[in-house]
């Protein structure tokens, strides 16, 4: 069960990466984080 849960989670991350990988600079090139 845990194995399946882990596989689903990894898959979820991979899908998220596919859709979000270019976001940090293309959507907001002026991202600025604080100290």
């Amino acid at each position: 069960m845990m194995r399946i849960k882990k596989i689903i989670r990894k898959l979820k991350y991979k899908i998220a990466y596919f859709f979000n990988r270019n976001k940090p600079n293309k959507d907001n090139p002026f991202i600025y984080e604080e100290d």
Binding site: M2, K5, K6, R9, K10, Y13, K14, A16, Y17, N20, R21, N22, K23, P24, N25, P29, F30, I31, Y32, E33, E34, D35
Partner: protein, 398 residues
């Protein structure tokens, strides 16, 4: 009755209100915007009130995750808390002999130095304001004065002319060219000795970054994995400590990791495409094609200077690091502990590629920043952060 131990960076620092000074907004702007100059109640106080416990807040502005782990461990040995709460900071911050250093600050300064050398006339536009601050401006100027001093007069002439009719922008420019910025995070003390110290640090980091320009993909992967191991070890060690000591532990990932590492100066944004291509075609699971190394060695236009090569290779390295983020063994361990409810963590993973709602500003409903230039949580948002910690504690430990 024991106590609540809280730790974090400036989002947690009890003295943030007083210490912030004119770092992001001038006193005049702060008065207009209604930002207090005094300290205000931070989230640990709200949580402690709800739990009816005394509390100790170890948060420090600019503090790293490394410092958080080490000071919480030290305090736990002195007196075991009833509950530990960490509002984790971004990656790229390291403690060195008690000093906080931020890799992003140096990288940001390199990007800014390239913009200054290219006489980018939008650098002082309002839309650019949040991308850099006085400290990174001074560091950028220092970088140019050490490596390309021939550019200094040209930069002063150009921006002097450009900004002569705008006193606010001129003030910002004069702040970055004033001599004697002393260290990487703090520009307030100006002494010759400290200025020399800064020059040594700057040379160290430029050499460090320059060594990475022509690395093979195998070496980049190896180094990226080591960097991720360092970052994850503080989180994993805190979880292990709490398991061993039997302390309820609530983690909230406050800041996104690596977001600053994506920035390129205007003159280099045309290379984003080739960086994407290089990351996409290289897969550390397969044989390395060294697309990037070949590009830097052979296709790279000859007129790029060292700062530009560093900026490009760093963005490539960081893109790869976060592409391979979920393959790291320590990541997998933390992820499994969270999945099994063996530790409580919100905002995980702290990377927008894998979690579009990463960072408290994205996953806390009603999060309000102090101002456009200052993305720290405002006094009201501190209460919301406290609620998030309290709810997570109640849900999982009571």
């Amino acid at each position: 009755m024991s106590y609540l131990l809280a730790n974090g960076c400036s989002f947690t620092d009890y003295n943030f209100g007083k210490k912030n000074g004119e770092y992001n907004n001038t006193y005049e702007e702060k008065e207009q915007l209604g930002i207090p100059n005094e300290n205000w109640k931070m989230w640990p106080e709200y949580v402690a009130e709800k739990l009816d416990l005394p509390y100790l807040n170890l948060g420090i502005s600019g503090g790293s995750n490394q410092r958080m782990y080490q000071t919480s461990l030290d305090q736990t040995i002195r007196k075991k808390p009833k509950v530990l709460m960490h509002l984790w900071s971004s990656d790229g911050r390291y403690g060195l002999f008690g000093k906080n250093m931020s890799l992003w600050n140096i990288q940001k300064a390199i990007v800014l130095a390239i913009d200054l050398m290219h006489l980018n006339n939008t650098l002082f536009d309002d839309k650019f304001e949040p991308t850099w601050d006085q400290a990174s401006g001074q560091l950028a100027y220092k970088l140019i004065s050490i490596y390309y001093p021939g550019y200094l007069n040209m930069i002063i002439d150009f921006y002097g002319q450009l900004l002569k009719n705008d006193s606010n922008k001129m003030r910002r420019f004069l702040q970055i060219i004033k001599p004697g910025s002393d260290d990487l995070n703090n520009y307030k003390h100006n002494t010759t000795e400290k200025t020399q110290y800064l020059a040594h640090i700057v040379r160290f980091w430029i050499n460090y970054f320059a060594d990475r320009i022509y690395l093979s993909d195998t070496d980049i992967d190896k180094e990226n994995n080591e960097i991720l191991n360092i970052e994850f070890s503080y989180i994993l060690n805190t979880i292990y400590m709490c398991k061993y000591e039997n302390i309820p532990f609530v983690s909230v990932f406050g800041l996104n990791w690596h977001t600053k590492g994506h920035n390129l100066p205007d003159s280099l944004t045309k290379y984003y495409g080739i960086i994407d291509e290089a990351v996409k075609t290289n897969n550390s699971m397969s044989v390395d094609n060294n697309f990037w190394k070949k590009f830097m060695l052979h296709d790279n236009p000859k007129n790029l200077n060292t700062f530009e090569k560093i900026a490009l290779s760093q963005v490539y390295m960081i893109r790869k690091r976060f592409r391979d983020f979920i393959r790291n063994e320590m990541f997998d361990k933390i992820d499994t502990l969270i999945l099994n409810n063996e530790t409580v963590a919100l905002g995980w993973p702290p990377v927008p590629e894998y979690n579009p709602n990463a960072g408290v500003k994205n996953f806390i409903k009603g999060f309000c920043a102090l101002s456009f230039q200052d993305s720290h949580p405002d006094p009201g948002t501190q209460k919301l952060i406290g609620d998030v910690f309290y709810d997570a504690y109640q849900k999982n430990y009571s």
